[in-house]
């Protein structure tokens, strides 16, 4: 129950650097995921209702 890939997770993170900007790959994944999820939520069609209630 300690996590099947927790060995991998407990190693020093990789950091991406560009000038003063620096971010861990994990944080980048979370932020990109957040933006992607937002874009998908807006643009992926929502299933249509079969019948109107009223």
């Amino acid at each position: 129950m300690t996590g099947w890939i927790s060995d991998f997770m407990n190693h020093p993170a990789t950091y991406l650097k560009s000038g003063w900007l620096q971010i861990s790959v994990s944080n980048l994944i979370v932020i990109v995921l957040m933006l992607t999820v937002f874009a998908l939520a807006v643009f992926v069609p929502f299933p249509k209702d079969k019948e109107d209630h009223k």
């Binding site: 999820v37 998908l40 939520a41 929502f46 209702d49 209630h53």
Partner: protein, 206 residues
């Protein structure tokens, strides 16, 4: 009309938030987008945080260092928090681009924004009570910010007992109350109509 405070409160509640609004079985036809699920997902993540947090509270702050079940419970807490913020931010972005404060819904927006800020404060105290290297580091670093504003005089991030109590009692209580008010306001005012919807166009139905 009754002069009784109790009756006044009840009448006001029934007028503004009858049970049909609180637990609706229909909603406007325009509520048809995946963006609408992120509010309830945020609430669900909060429920998971509270559930795993209660188990952690029963066993004490050092349990997860020595127990596999403890570490698993701590992991549930940790990942629920990560999801909570992801869902909440997507919800916030969605509501911003919908200009969801239109039609007397300013207070709905404001309570949501306050809940966001309160969540950050609550999560921060969580990081301080991990009783591991991370909390050693964070408390040493964060004290300077709070001290610089004089806040450190009564909110001492290096005091584990104080942070633990605030994290499991006071801050969740505040966040919970704000969240309940936020949700009740959403139910009371209803979901904001589309930006381009107008009374005269067909489908608006009047």
């Amino acid at each position: 009309m009754s002069e009784m405070w109790t009756a006044k409160l009840r009448n006001k509640w029934q007028k503004n938030l009858p049970i049909e609004k609180l637990l609706p079985d229909d909603q406007p036809a325009y509520v048809a987008s995946w963006i609408y699920v992120f509010g309830v997902l945020t609430l669900s993540a909060l429920a998971m945080i509270i559930f795993s947090g209660i188990i952690l509270a029963f066993e004490g702050p050092a349990w997860y260092h020595i127990s596999d079940v403890g570490l698993f419970t701590n992991s549930l807490h940790f990942w629920s928090v990560q999801m909570f913020f992801v869902f909440m931010v997507v919800h916030l972005w969605g509501k911003y681009w919908m200009a969801a404060w239109r039609g007397n819904r300013f207070r709905t927006w404001a309570t949501g924004a306050i809940a966001f800020v309160a969540s950050i404060a609550t999560a921060f105290t969580g990081y301080l009570v991990q009783t591991n290297f991370d909390s050693q580091w964070i408390s040493f670093e964060a004290k300077d910010g709070f001290n610089s504003m004089g806040i450190g005089a009564f909110f001492n991030v290096t005091n584990l007992g104080q942070m633990l109590l605030l994290h499991v009692a006071f801050l969740p209580l505040i966040l919970g109350v704000i969240t309940v008010i936020h949700v009740l306001m959403v139910r009371r005012r209803g979901v904001v109509p589309p930006i381009d919807a107008e009374p005269s166009v067909s489908g608006a139905g009047r």
